[in-house]
Amino acid sequence: MSNRLKKICVFLVAIAMLASLAIGCNKTETTTKGENAGKDTTSSDTADKDSTPRNETLYFNGQQWGAINDWNPLSSNSNNALGVTQKDSSRTLTYETLYMYNMLDGKMYPLLASGDPVWNDNQTTLTIKINPDAKWWDGTPVTADDVAYTWDVNVKYESAAGADYSNYIDSIKAQDASTVVISAKLKDGKTINPLKVLEYIPRQFVMQKAYLQKVEQRNGNDATKMKTDKMDDLVASGPYKPYVANDQKVVFQRVDDYWGKAASMWGKLPVPKYIAHNMYKDNAAGDVAFKAGEVDVSQQFISDVPSMIAGGKISTYLPEAPYNLGATMPTAWFNLEKPGLDQVAVRKAIAIATDYDQIIKTAMSGQSASFKDVPRSIMNTTPGEQALVDQAALKTVQWTGNDVEGAKKLLDQAGIKDTDNDGIREYKGQKLSFKAECPSGWSDWNASLEIVAAAGKAIGIDIQTYFPDANTFYDDLSNQNFDIAMWSPSAAGISNPWTRAFQLMSSSYNSVKTQMIGNFGGYSNPTVDKLLAEIPATTDQAKLKAAYTELSKIYLTDVPSFSLMYRPELFYTVNESVWTNFPQQGSKSEKGIEIPPYDLTDGYGIAGLYTIKLVNGK
């Protein structure tokens, strides 16, 4: 009988061995593209099919989490960070936009377009010229027709972009092969929102008409099928095309006859032949790989950046604290319908008692500008936005934090006192007791809210932190089922700071039951709404500055929410073991334009791909 047992064991071990072998076989499921995608992908010098050579590949982390879903810009759930990311500064490795946004000067630079977009006199139509050199991967030229058709498809099948922008754009038509005319939606003869019209062009990927028609045909013009088509056979115009995509990594291969090497665009090819992103399961794993030199560009929050920089190989956009450019402000939103939080005094007291220096020092490990250096307003820290606000006029309403005595005085004056001596103040007989929430595991945010809670305790307001899983949090936030919640408004973009101001204060969201965009707490102020309606059509810089200053003043007076720190839109830390000459403060492209810290992929940040160099050699 023991022989039988032995046999069973042998059998089990044999299964185990076979299973291990199956790992190897499993790899064949991986999609390796490139061979069939066009004539330009074969190259002689990298016949090594086993790997992407270290000195030809730029490695990323912190962007792609989990396997990608599709290559479809119409889908709103591609989970394809490097391939399909449309935002204020879209990621143009694969698909390209008409313009690239540069947050440093707040301007747009042409990509598929040529020259600046031109408004007509009454700002109702915007005319854009297409770069005659621009080509799709299949060699056909990018035309105005493609731009128009992309719009039509987005509207027809109600993609997220189509649904949003059709409120502001009436039509996009091809005047001739190289001229696009965008007609804005009008109200009383005036453009509803010129900023939203402008916002579309650095954001929306231009897709090939012929390819879109092919996809429409295979999906029988069905909207759901169109939005969920994987588009594995994509035709785009960008410098990199998909090469490998599986559960561990995504790799892009350079398109060697990319149109951008024409003198009218970059005049050359981007330097790395491959762009690769391994999927690390968490920040810790990503950091270990980054330190080991297996990652060149890290889009992760690294808490010990200061000590890493001291090592010499690692660098950031700014040589010293705060190391990055704060493009957004993670903000604590008050639910203005909660008794107690409907009182300005309570909101402001919590805001001025919070120790922001402590947040920046501990939660952000110094990686945020302080509110003493960049005083609070609705602006981020970029020079472009700071130029739109009169800081001197805001002095009286600004605060830098940790003002416990001032907060106590404010509450006392408002008659909100601790009447039963239990250490917690009451408002209308009710104890001031609130929950401050953000998703669990967002450690820097969690730490920030702990500091807000401590400030509450110091001034006699009970604030308990609550860190549910992200889904429960989104639910609470979008249904106004919170007391204090933490979330970031919009970062940098051509329509900012307007979009951010809108998200922070527009009452237009209050009528919607479930909404995920902004003003989660239900703030409402007619003056604000009027200013928000006027700003998009204002072109006069002085008037704009006055309007934004006024908005900031109201924001800081009414405190519907308050920023806890400045934060970059993308974290950007580079390891210069293999590649060097990464964009840093002051770095310029060959055309003399300053390159923003956008991880060499987003908006004008992609210019960095043309300037990096190998440490040893070329």
Partner: protein, 334 residues
Amino acid sequence: MKGYKKYYTKKIIWYVITLVIAVILNFLLPRLMPGDPVSAIAARTAVGMTSQTAIQKVYEDYVKAFGIDKPIYVQFFNYITNALKGNFGVSFIYYPRTVSDILARSIWWTVCLQLPAIIVGWLLGNILGAVAAYIKGAWDKAVLPVFLFLSNMPAFGMAIILQFFFAVYLKWFPASLGYGYDMIPNLSLKFIGSIIYHYQLPFWSIVLITIGGQAIGMRSMSIYELNADYVKYSRFLGIKDRKIVKYVFRNAMLPQITGLALSLGTMVGGALVAEMIFSYPGLGTTLLSAITGRDYPVISACTLIITIMVLIANLIVEILYGFIDPRIKAAQQE
């Protein structure tokens, strides 16, 4: 043979009943969690949008696509009819990827990591337990306690220690991923070598933890058996020690086999820690993000797989028992 038939029919009926109940729970429990599966995906989509009607539209689109606007019994009926066809629906967080596609891609990583690790851990553990019980000495006083200590370490602690010591500090093994960070999957020797190289730390992090628990069980069972009357009697009869030991360990093995079956059944969920820390591709993290993302179809499919594996493993053990241990068969035949 008649006895066998009755025994197995009864068993199988019980297993089917268990399966039915499990399927209902698999469907129901995830859906009873608070939180809305659409909010996360809609929140991602909403970034940069300004029109509240547009985002409302996106939100409703997803609700419709996921079918969660329908009454729960209709959803259940759909789930069952689809599941019978092997279709587990479309994932919410990885929409529009199908659950089958997601599982098919990652389950092999988990199985190939867990199955050999559990079996090797189980074998080594049992050998150690038997040796400690029989030979005693240093095995019982030193080696076994060391493995007991290791097995009481939380799985993530073991994984982090191995990672820090062998990957970060000594740099003998890679710290993360399933194959080289610069490799492109293919069937070359270099690539397979890379897989084996990356396999070591996650594999041993599971094995080292498994050994102690198995060993202690085997040791107590063996000691109990070594002192049993039949052993003493056999000794009186002058039967050789070697032969007696064989009987002893065969008897001591029985509960251990049940343990193995159970751990094989739960391996899908158990791989989580090693997969997380070593960024190893696999099902563990898929399941975790499915749970936090309220991805009902993925959760239900994963738990269904676990349920079925546990049931099958148990069924096989029960069947094997009938053969291995005549006493059980005899008891069932009465």
